[in-house]
Amino acid sequence: MITVFFREIVAAILAIWADKGARSTMLGATVFFSVFFPQPYLSEVVRDMPVAIIDQDGSTLSRELIRRIDAADTVAVARYAPDMPSARALFLKREVYGIVVVPPKFERDLLAGRAAPIAAFSDGGYFLLNSVMSSALSNAARSLGTEVEVGRLTASGVDMASAMAIVEPLRVTTVALFNPTGGYASFVLPAVFVLILQQTLLMGIGNLKAGRRPTGAVSTLADAIVYVGLYSLWAGVVLVLLPWVYRLPRIGDVAVMYAVVVPFLAAVTAMGLAIARLIPTKEGVIFFLVVLGMPLFFLSGVSWPAEAMPKLLHAIAFVIPSTTAVPALVRVNQMGADLKSVETTIFIQLGLCFAYSMLALIVDQAKRRPAA
């Protein structure tokens, strides 16, 4: 019995090696995508986004404000424009991505204790550029404003400590957890990597099993063990080694990670076998999986909060292993969540594994009956 099982395991491994499609998806594609996908995000953050300045004041304080804006890592004062139409033209040509207008009498109003508002125009079509501009600007404006106000108070005879207590009676400190630099690669890649595992595993199974006659129980089990085993190795590469190579934050416990990874891979394998039974051609399976990648990423709730999706949609999306496994693995690997915080996900994955196995069996039976 054991030798039979062992032979089936060897057969399953050889089958992957022998099938060109399976070999390239299960052995090659994972690595390829892991290198290819991260490319756009590797610089992590936006640096020196060019902005145009319209300085209608030309005073010492307006220049000081502009200097502070320029001092931020994220933006750089690239152009000075005489008026709004010319700044707008630069913006439309994508030579600058934001416009700052310092009004006339900026210095006079500020020193006289009147509000000296500055106007800023950023690009609503690009969220990241928009928020980069917003934070650089409000930091510059706030620091200059506080300094001027404290200066005015101390000039009127208030001591420094009291002046600070009046200007800023309560400090609000904002601490970014888990991705302290706000890196875009650190945000997207951990989730994408999990999805790559799922999609390439499904494609590999599609290549091997779609349109083929189902094999016996022992050999199917041996296949499943080989797939889960192989992808457990890939999970180590993609979820532990690659983050290290790319210097993404990763603080999780590898044992906890595998406690999620193994049930997840089992669920994906069962799903792959079920899909291969349902879609009769390899081409169909590959097409289906290729177009589904991106929607699945958005459903996982990492880039777009699950709370903002319709409840029903999120409930339906539960049937896809990645929907719950992606956030759980991100929480374990990037946020250091413990076993207790992800146990629900583990049960969901085991449930899915069981459900898809049953589905594969039922389709099997249904297909066999008319033939018999």
């Binding site: 690009d123 601490v175 970014a176 888990f178 589904l292």
Partner: protein, 399 residues
């Protein structure tokens, strides 16, 4: 049947042959329009809220004073966040963050109110989950803004207590207010932003994959590409006849998605409609030719589809919609330029959102045309080579 056999080789014959192929495969018909529209509906449902509301956060209130309760109330009142949990300690708040139940924890330390009154400038700390950047930063901004309002209130009171009038005290709180407005997408709606970009990117995969499927199927068939080439007569007529049904179907899907976007979903169309139609058409053609080239280079149908997946699957990251192109490395910049969807999305943004003049869109439009030219040229060259190598034996075998 007899009539069909007499039809002269040309566009119509290639077209009819392709339509028969599509008709014989329900799966292929499903991929032409119903499946992409279904995905569009799914994505529209994902982003339907436009902006997230009531994102859950936790508060650790160790002060339990009038001031701390006021802070909690004001934070809870912001539309973007909801105070969903009151944790007794920071450890409890951390557990809520780790299990994904909240996006941020606000810590109000004990004696906050007393320290404020004594002028000791206590510190309230907002911890937010920056691993989930979109909701995390949204929550951080809203909560920070709400707490800022509380601080401003105290500051105004302090100034009034020192004899200032309310108006000048209010002005002094924010001496340099920033009036920021987003040009061209004032409400910062995600429907405009993400959905309008994701849909063409997904469609690019469909367009390229279906073209790859069509040519690969012929190439792998018994008669090879020679039969299709004979049906069409010339290369151009063959290609036009084979691709026309897909071009039309995906243009209709593209326009259908736009109709939903600018109709029921309420996005604003601020550009030139004719131009929008023109670059949409070139986008579809360029993507199709890319798919055909993949089919003619790859060794079989599965690898043709896989290479389309490799090229078009990760395209979204390269288009610069989420992470800006100006911060990308050299490889990504070049790769992005080779993808039709990059130029299409830029043209879309410039035309629809920004209402830019035609001369500003010209470079992107020329790039898109150039891509269509390059992929088209490669396609015709490969087909011509196939035709030449097969044209000698095939007619003899049939006669």
């Amino acid at each position: 049947m007899a009539r069909r056999a007499h039809l002269k080789a040309g566009f119509r014959r290639a077209l009819l042959a392709e339509l028969r192929q599509i008709g014989a495969r329900p799966g292929l018909m499903f991929m032409l329009a119903p499946f992409p529209l279904l995905l569009f509906a799914l994505l529209a449902a994902v982003f339907q809220m436009g902006l997230p509301r009531e994102l859950p956060i936790a508060i650790v209130d160790q002060d339990r004073s009038t001031l701390s309760r006021q802070m909690v109330r004001i934070v809870d009142a912001t539309p973007e966040v909801a105070v969903a949990y009151e944790a007794s300690s920071l450890g409890g708040g951390r557990q809520l963050l780790l299990s994904g139940q909240v996006y941020a924890v606000v810590l109000i330390p004990s004696r906050t109110e007393r320290d404020v009154l004594a002028g000791r400038r206590p510190e309230v700390v907002l911890f937010y989950n920056n691993q989930y950047m979109t909701p995390g930063s949204l929550v951080a901004r809203s909560v920070g803004g709400a707490l800022g309002t509380v601080v401003a209130g105290i500051s105004i009171e302090a100034r009034v207590a020192r004899g200032a009038d309310v108006e000048s005290a209010t002005l002094a709180v924010a001496p340099v207010p920033v009036r920021q407005s987003a040009l061209f997408n004032p409400s910062l709606e995600y429907v405009q932003f993400l959905l309008a970009a994701v849909m063409p990117t997904v469609l690019q995969i469909f367009i390229a994959a279906s073209a790859a499927l069509s040519f690969s199927r012929d190439r792998q068939g018994v008669a090879g590409l020679g039969r299709s080439l004979r049906l069409g007569g010339t290369l151009i007529k063959t290609v036009a006849g084979k691709l026309a049904p897909y071009t039309l179907a995906y243009l209709l899907v593209l326009w259908g998605a736009d109709a939903l976007l600018f109709g029921p979903l309420g996005a604003r169309f601020g550009g030139n409609l004719a131009f929008h139609v023109a670059y949409g058409f070139v986008f579809v053609l360029a993507s199709q030719m890319l798919g055909v080239v993949a089919a003619l280079v790859a060794r079989d149908t599965v690898s043709a589809l896989a290479s389309v997946g490799v090229i078009a699957g990760p395209a979204f990251g390269f288009t610069g919609i989420t992470f800006p192109r100006l911060s990308m490395n050299g490889f990504s910049t070049v790769w992005a330029d080779l993808l039709p969807v990059t130029h299409y999305l830029q043209l879309r943004t410039d035309n629809i959102l920004r209402g830019a003049a035609f001369d500003i869109s010209l470079p992107a439009f020329v790039s898109l045309l150039a891509l269509a030219g390059i992929y088209g040229g490669a396609m015709f060259f490969l087909l011509w080579r196939h035709g030449r190598s097969r044209s000698v034996p095939v007619p003899e075998a049939l006669r």
